[in-house]
Symmetry: C2
Subunit: 428 residues, 2 copies
């Protein structure tokens, strides 16, 4: 007897599920120790049903979720609708009806994950969501299983394909932000309103989920700072290159003495850093830990088949656990009370791009300002002036978040200087 599953939604990713179940049938059955059958597929309305049928899709399409929730034969519900509602209600009802759930919905899991996991725990059913972070990269299950013996100290992620595609064009080919965005939209990588991708919001959702798996801490979305790529100029990109860096939108979570800090922000990566070579729409999660040291997990962050592969891996795991009678185990069991780092414990190098009058004593004045905050220079670059203004770029040694905030305020309040841009710089 096969295990019956239902799909909620039949968009791009969902249609990858039957592809894998068919193509890899023998291997999947070996791993799951049972056959998996798509018993029902929820679509929006009769029009969608008819158009899917006309396109040759031969499933038992239903338009009312009750037909799935009330079907006692369906063991697993696979939610691939996206957005918060009605996905949240459907998942909750499925869990309450004793069904196991697989989801790829990062927004929902980042914001309402704890709530849904509680419902799952209460009804002793599984809620798995490997595909929610970095699509095809098996990072969540790897953190759970293989890093169970390790202690993670830092996670850096290039986890938004759209912005990484744009940054690759900006860095490798010198494109402006506007041109890169237009191309990303033309290729269908960016939506007409690209805010979630380019402002780091999508990546911040993923940091929320990664915090739970890597640090056992349930950080909230609004505790993850985010700054996007729209302010990056071709000059920033070229200065970065001449100083030996590549700029990327990087999500980070670090554990300091006082707790964890998470943010998403454009970051200067040294060219030899493993993340620096992650280009186009590819994603990667780089992990520092006391046992392994440095490791990195690289792959596609989105797309039909990669995402469906993670979804089906979750389904296989559930079917196997049903067989073994160990289905109660939560996807992620690592849990500690949330402790947020104090700003003075979060230290980074920073890039400051400053427009200064081309007059004697300006570098001295800058040095005084940085010195007064206890910040020292690691690299400094002054470009030929246009006769009136000079462009000065400073990369500091490690300063903490309080020092950084003070430096920005002071520079902003100096009438002579214009602070053009600041970015985080990876390094010691």
């Amino acid at each position: 007897m096969s295990v019956k599953i239902a799909l909620l939604g039949f968009g791009t990713v969902a249609s990858g599920v039957p592809f894998l179940l068919k193509e890899n049938h023998e291997k999947i059955s070996q791993a799951a120790q049972d056959d998996i059958e798509i018993a029902k597929v929820l679509v929006r309305d009769d029009a969608e049903k008819q158009s899917l049928q006309a396109a040759g899709h031969d499933y038992n399409f239903v338009t009312n979720v009750d037909e799935i929730i009330e079907d006692k034969e369906i063991a697993i519900v696979v939610e691939l609708m996206g957005r918060i509602e009605p996905a949240k209600t459907f998942i909750t009802r499925a869990l309450e009806a004793g069904k196991h759930v697989v989801s790829a919905n990062k927004d929902l899991l980042a914001v309402h994950g704890s709530e849904l996991l509680e419902v799952a725990q209460k009804h002793q059913v599984a809620l798995y969501y490997e595909a929610a972070v970095a699509g095809g990269i098996p990072i969540l299950r790897t953190l759970v299983n293989s890093l169970a013996s390790d202690k993670v100290t830092k996670v850096l992620g290039v986890v938004n394909g759209t912005s990484n595609f744009m940054m690759t064009k900006m860095v490798e080919e010198g494109w402006t932000y506007e041109d890169a965005l237009a191309e990303a939209q033309r290729l269908g990588y960016a939506e007409s309103d690209p805010t979630n991708d380019v402002e780091g919001i999508d990546a911040a959702y993923k940091m929320v989920i990664l915090s739970q798996f890597a640090f056992g801490m349930n950080i909230q979305f609004d505790q993850v700072g985010h700054k996007g790529i729209s302010q990056i100029t071709p000059q920033d990109v070229s200065v970065a290159q001449s100083l030996g860096y590549v700029i990327k939108l990087v999500g980070s979570i670090v554990e300091t003495e006082s707790g964890i800090a998470a943010e998403v922000t454009p970051t200067f990566l040294p060219k030899q850093h493993p993340l620096a070579g992650v280009n186009d729409v590819m994603n990667a999660v780089y992990v520092e830990s006391i046992g392994i040291g440095e490791s990195m997990y690289y792959g596609p962050g989105a797309g039909q088949k990669p995402t469906a592969t993670s979804v089906v891996a979750d389904i296989v795991r559930i079917v196997r656990r049903l067989k073994e009678g160990t289905i109660g185990k939560a996807f992620n069991e690592y849990s500690r009370p949330l402790q947020l780092a104090k700003p003075e414990d979060v230290k980074n190098n920073y890039y400051f791009s400053i427009k200064a009058p081309d007059a004697t004593g300006q570098i001295l004045r800058l040095a005084e300002i940085f010195n007064a905050e206890g910040a020292s220079f690691k690299q400094i670059l002054q470009e030929d002036s246009d006769g009136q203004f000079a462009s000065v770029v400073i990369i500091t040694h490690q300063v903490n978040q309080t020092q950084f905030k003070n430096l920005v305020e002071k520079l902003d309040s100096e009438p002579n200087f214009e602070l053009l841009n600041t970015f985080k710089v990876l390094g010691e």
Copy 2:
């Protein structure tokens, strides 16, 4: 009540095990759902025992393995002695005594793995060995769990840290093979007899194990071709660079229509390939599959803590399965009959470095030879001659193994030409 384990051997890696059990005690207990206690440690003799005790190691050291095998309280035996014997006998006896075994011994598992796995299966005990391939990289468990839903078509691995360190020096700093080897030996990366590392033997062992996990096929060690890095000249390295490639020692397994083919050989990697940036002693395994597409797993291939992290992850998994009552499950369940690819189905681009007389018609003659075998040129580079001989480098489009063999034979038999070197080139 805690689960009691015994360590066989207390060298570098083994001493990383108590470090992790202590440092990550809380997280490990959460994941294992039990405490783990090192009950006994097997050492060679009283002299080793006394020197370890003098160094402050406070374990129950034993010098006779019977004290572990016959101890009914010990549930898990962790073999970290290396080499074939007596490790093989000790593991076999432990499995027969109903103990679960964790090992990091790639030579043993590559050559006698099937035999040992049979004993484990017969006694319904676990034999896990994540650390045997690419030390700290959790590649085996990832293939088992996360790629259960996927079909792997190609695996490429930079899985020998010593040779990769040497290649990095040769590529990035133009060192000769001899200088790179001397430095690797000075740093303790290479043994006084470096054959296993530099001739691709160590990497070939790892390909045997990866074939089982990625393709479900039990290829034998002597079915994995291996060619080392000792013949690579500075000229090969510099030509590679000028044509846009980096040379590394790469293990590969591909599935063709007729079956799989595995080999370890110096390979030209396009500079933008994810493996091209894997430098120094770091390792990476790059996977192509029909679901995820491209993914890569990067980390340290050896070292005390990385290897111990994989070993302890295996221990945690066993303890958890003991708790869940699902201990019978084999580490890798994916299994298909071995089918080796026909030579004509295994296709690659190849680099030929040829010394030719500096006379009219030589390129024409070369073109005739390649053309007669149906091989076409992708790139060709003729360097300034010294007046007597010219150096000609040819990179072919895809040719199969039979064509390649014929080309090498023909060029070797041409009295005018000297075939200096041939290498595999990654590309379409």
